[in-house]
């Protein structure tokens, strides 16, 4: 798989971007000398300079330092929601396909309902009732609303695996059901499970940013979405501070793009029909 990633330029770009964000989130101190990015420590609304590469906000915070320290929360939301939603998708999707019958009908109907109900308004309503959302509330609603797409795809693949010979032989060997699902079915589905994770992580990044942007996040904690919220409520665009808006949005877009690129590349790796056609004929003759 490492070789496959290295030979695919989209996967390579996505992986490098993601690695960069992980490093920034893990050790933000390496990238900026400011360790209290929230403090109103500088002059208000400074243009970019040597001391403040992206200028300062209307509250006198260094925009670059805020970006660096905001990485952690965005990445945590992406990874935790991606992971939990994937686990939920696997449980629902695979058990629907494997148990069949009435259980399957019930779980599939549930999946379809979750799939078409517009989740974002629902999240807004829940977050409004729950008060301004803490990190836990946001992660919770994103997991509840984000698992259905993956579950549907995983169910379809698990269904197609159900009557394969290697599973039949495991059954004949007298293996337990749990053993067959965990040790035989799931490993064959690795690439789709990975794709589900990447898709849910992308969903989490964009939706969490949207929630924080409209002020339903925890507006005292630092994240790219909250930066945009404060920029918007201070009319940063109209008052000549475009960097305050451009920079955090670009970071969200880059983190999102890294998940999307990896996802698209894994699609190509696992489905050879979609790979780009090599145009040079000489290469093809030799291989």
């Amino acid at each position: 798989m490492v070789a496959a990633v290295r030979s695919n330029s989209k996967a390579m770009v996505g992986a490098l971007l993601l690695l960069l964000f992980v490093v920034v989130a893990a050790v933000p101190q390496l990238f900026t000398s400011i360790d209290t990015p929230d403090a109103h420590a500088f002059e208000l609304g400074l243009p970019p300079s040597w001391d403040h590469p992206l200028g300062t906000t209307a509250f006198g915070q260094d925009i670059y330092a805020q970006l660096i320290y905001g990485t952690r929360q965005s990445l945590i939301i992406a990874v935790v929601v991606g992971g939990l939603a994937t686990v939920l998708s696997v449980i629902v999707g695979v058990s629907a396909a494997y148990l069949g019958g009435a259980t399957d009908s019930l779980l599939s109907a549930m999946t379809d309902v979750f799939l078409v109900v517009p989740t974002f308004p629902l999240i807004i309503v829940i977050a409004a009732y729950a008060g301004k959302g803490s990190l836990v509330v946001i992660i919770g609603v994103l997991v509840i609303t984000g698992w259905s797409y993956g579950a549907r795809q995983l169910r379809a693949q698990a269904l197609s695996l159900r009557n394969r010979d290697f599973l039949e032989s495991a059954r004949v060997r007298g293996e337990r059901r749990s053993y067959i699902i965990v040790c035989e079915v799931l490993p064959t589905m690795t690439s789709l499970i990975l794709a589900t994770f990447l898709g849910s992580a992308l969903y989490a990044v964009l939706t969490a940013a949207g929630l924080q942007f409209i002020g339903l996040g925890d507006s005292s904690s630092l994240s790219w979405g909250t930066m945009l919220h404060w920029a918007q409520s201070n009319a940063a665009l109209q008052s000549g501070q475009p960097l305050w808006v451009v920079a955090p949005g670009l970071c969200i877009a880059l983190l999102g793009a890294s998940f999307a690129l990896l996802n698209y590349a894994f699609d190509e790796i696992s489905n050879p029909a979609l790979r780009p056609v090599r145009r040079s004929r000489g290469k093809r003759a030799r291989s």
């Binding site: 989209k10 109907a109 379809d112 309902v113 799939l115 078409v116 109900v117 517009p118 989740t119 974002f120 308004p121 629902l122 807004i124 309503v125 829940i126 409004a128 009732y129 729950a130 008060g131 797409y149 992308l202 964009l206 939706t207 940013a209 949207g210 942007f213 409209i214 002020g215 339903l216 945009l228 918007q232 665009l237 109209q238 475009p242 808006v245 451009v246 949005g249 969200i252 877009a253 999102g256 793009a257 998940f259 999307a260 690129l261 698209y264 699609d267 029909a273 979609l274 780009p276 056609v277 145009r279």
Partner: protein, 328 residues
């Protein structure tokens, strides 16, 4: 026929689920937000409106949960959503009726355009696989589909409104100095205001359609009937549009229905950024003002709109695809 009955059943089930979720959310939340709201509201409304809200939010503890639920269902089905707090003393329904045309006009048109344009570009990209279009288009749109809608909207404002000294408006649906009516100045003014938000929806949603259509095309082009068409000596055009694209379109249509929820989410934020007076903008206003009756009614309205769109897609699929009609 059986297919359509099945889909109608699904429509009813989903609608019921959405209404039920709507009923239980305020009851499950900690801190009893509804009672706090009712307390704020007392003495300002007539008793009938209070009673309707008591049913809607379960403040009236004397009633059993079941009779509250039945009362709520009855009120919802008859379109009685109560009184809005923000726009007091107007009813929630009348407020929503004002917002619907703006959202339908903006989001509806932009989404359909994105679908048609994306499908066309995807068709060309998949047909000339590895060609110029195909080597540029997919990677670009993988990236644009990861852009946050609201940020794209803000960038549009920055480039086309702030940097051009207000060449295009970025606020509201029409200028306050133009008299609303079916007149030329008003219509052009509305179109000018719709341009930037519509472009935002278009840019961020078109990528998804292009990518899925391209991948469907690639799969369909490997089918035997395409080879058969070639062997018969049909023109490329005919094979491309009538053989390949027609079949590749069907899964894309199903995908359209599936991703509408995502488009709606983006549209809410776009309306917020542009202060566009549609359902999404109203929803966020309702949240900020803790206007629970309006908020819940809006959630239901948006859900119904999406469900109807999904149903239309189902009918289209049934009409276009004989396999769907005959499937049990």
């Amino acid at each position: 026929m059986r297919f359509l009955m099945h889909r109608l059943g699904f429509f009813a089930l989903t609608l019921w689920a959405a209404i039920t979720v709507n009923f239980f959310i305020p009851r499950l939340m900690p801190g009893d937000p509804a009672s706090a709201m009712m307390a704020r509201f007392h003495g300002r409304v007539n008793p009938a409106a209070i009673h309707a809200m008591e049913i809607a939010f379960g403040v009236d503890a004397q009633q059993s949960l079941w009779s509250q639920y039945v009362g709520y269902l009855h009120n919802t089905v008859t379109g009685n959503f109560g009184t809005s707090l923000t726009y007091f003393p107007l009813s929630v329904s009348s407020q929503i009726a004002q917002a619907v045309p703006w959202t339908l006009g903006l989001v509806g048109v932009a989404t359909v355009l994105a679908f048609l344009g994306g499908t066309l570009i995807g068709t060309i990209s998949g047909w000339r696989r590895g060609g110029t279009v195909d080597s540029i288009v997919p990677p670009v749109f993988v990236v644009t589909s990861a852009l946050p809608y609201f940020w794209v909207g803000m960038m549009m404002i920055l480039v086309f409104s702030v940097w051009t000294n207000g060449a295009l408006p970025n606020d509201g649906a029409y200028s306050l100095d133009v008299v609303p009516g079916f007149t030329m100045p008003f219509i052009t003014d509305v179109l000018r205001h719709a341009l930037l938000p519509a472009m935002t929806v278009l840019i961020t949603s078109i990528g998804g359609w292009i990518l899925t259509m391209r991948n469907n095309m690639v799969t369909v082009l490997a089918e035997d009937y395409v080879r058969m068409g070639r062997a018969k000596g049909l023109s490329s055009r005919k094979i491309m549009y009538q053989y390949a694209a027609r079949n590749a379109l069907l899964p894309n249509l199903a995908g359209f229905a599936m991703s509408l929820g995502f488009v709606v989410a983006g549209a809410i934020l776009v309306e917020y950024v542009f202060n566009y007076p549609g359902l999404g903008y109203m929803l966020l206003n309702a949240v900020n003002n803790l206007d629970y009756p309006l908020m819940q009614a809006l959630f239901l309205m948006i859900t119904v709109a999406v469900l109807v769109a999904v149903l239309i897609c189902d009918f289209l699929t049934a009409w276009l695809d004989p396999r769907a009609r005959s499937a049990s």
